[in-house]
């Protein structure tokens, strides 16, 4: 029951959780943008041209696709190095899809960190920010029912079809619901009072073989 590792969850606001693995993976997602000021000698860093070498710069106004962590670091209202565009799923067209019916969208394909990434986008000043925030919230509310029902009703089945269209945040919720259900069923069958080896101890045996050989 006691876990070897207690994971830090993602921060869902404008600030990420530094220690959260999900946030670290999420900030690797790419963001389209445009370079406003000339950036000398950093073509390789910003992903432009593998053959260009390090001495080339990027002219002003050229489009780049950079990871979120880099965009957050370079973005500054005063120095104007970078301007950020919204990825297409946060734009007007997709927003109307979400408001029509949030359940049909395959959020895993659209970027497995829809909610986290969307919350981070609010860091960059953008006139559409309130609508983006509202859409993200409404999408979550709309999909909540389906996650709740599927996680609490699927006992001992293959759940890969159910989670295929969920993004990472929703998958974590799904796992929490499944855990509640599994614990209850296991208690009802009487397995809760059976003594089983802890998962920590089961790993000890696996390591001992190398000690014996050496």
């Amino acid at each position: 029951m006691a876990e070897a590792y207690f994971p830090v969850g993602p921060g869902l606001g404008p600030e990420e959780n530094f220690l959260s693995l999900e946030d670290i993976l999420m900030s690797q997602e790419k963001l389209p943008g445009r370079v406003e000021a000339a950036v000398p000698r950093l073509a390789a860093v910003l992903g432009k041209g593998a053959g260009a070498g390090q001495s080339d710069g990027i002219p002003e106004g050229s489009k780049v696709e950079i990871p979120l962590w880099l965009a957050k670091g370079l973005y500054d209202n005063k120095r104007r190095i970078l301007s950020v565009e919204l990825p297409k799923i946060y734009k007007e067209g997709w927003r109307t899809v979400f408001s029509a019916d949030a359940n049909v969208v395959d959020l895993h394909k659209m970027g497995p960190y829809y909610y986290g990434f969307g919350s981070q986008l609010l860091n960059f000043d953008n006139p559409e920010n309130p609508e983006i925030a509202q859409t993200i919230l409404q999408t979550f509310i709309g999909r909540f029912r389906r996650i709740m029902d599927s996680s609490q009703n699927a006992y001992n089945e293959d759940t890969s079809a159910l989670v295929a269209r969920l993004d990472e945040l929703e998958r974590a919720l799904f796992r929490a619901g499944q855990k509640g259900l599994n614990d209850f069923q296991c208690w009802e069958k009487g397995q809760a009072s059976q003594i089983t080896a802890s998962s920590l101890v089961q790993n000890y045996r696996k390591r001992k073989f190398t000690d014996m050989d050496g």
Partner: protein
């Protein structure tokens, strides 16, 4: 909380047993347990009742609500009402499981009782999910649910609190917050 912990709390409930041994009053920290005389019913906590039954020292008497007709009435009423009806015992699920596991011989129509209790449980859990969904959908600030038992709260609790946490964080995004501090070079 695990189901096992809820079961542990449920074991404090009193049930009637008929012992086949005799013993004077015993004084425990939680309270006194009355003198045991063979053939005379006495009220003991469930943990002791189950233990005695396993050692074949007593006969368990089912609580008065554990009866097929009563449970059928409860189940039908649960299905009719939109809100939760008060259950005969705040630990009905745990009591059912323990008594039917250890003392099914002294309970008439044990299978029927098991089915009826499971039906009632399913109805209540479905109502809980419905009310959780409407709570989230309308973004209410707080809700009050009467007559819920601990086991039901445990099964859906973790999921619901996590989902509400996420919703809260997403909702605070809507407020135009103070801009993050930036360093000046």
């Amino acid at each position: 909380m695990d189901p096992a912990e809820a079961e542990f709390l449920a074991e404090k409930e009193l049930v009637t047993v008929i012992p086949n041994f005799s013993l004077d009053r015993i004084y425990l920290i939680g309270g006194d347990l009355g003198p045991f005389n063979p053939g005379l019913p006495v009220e003991v906590p469930l943990w002791l009742a189950v233990n005695l039954k396993q050692r074949q020292k007593c006969r368990l008497i089912p609580p008065e609500w554990m009866d097929a007709e009563k449970l059928e009435e409860i189940r039908d009423q649960e299905r009719k009402e939109d809100t939760f009806t008060p259950m005969p015992s705040p630990y009905y699920m745990e009591l059912t499981k323990l008594l039917l596991n250890y003392a099914s011989d002294s309970i008439p129509k044990a299978d029927e009782i098991r089915t009826l209790v499971k039906d009632t449980w399913d109805t209540r859990i479905a109502k809980l999910r419905l009310s959780a969904d409407s709570f989230v959908r309308q973004q209410e600030a707080h809700a009050k649910l009467d007559n819920l038992t601990l086991m039901e709260i445990n099964t859906t609790g973790t999921f619901l609190t996590q989902a509400l946490d996420h919703m809260y964080k997403l909702r605070t995004n809507l407020q135009p917050g103070e801009s993050a501090q930036s360093q000046d070079f």
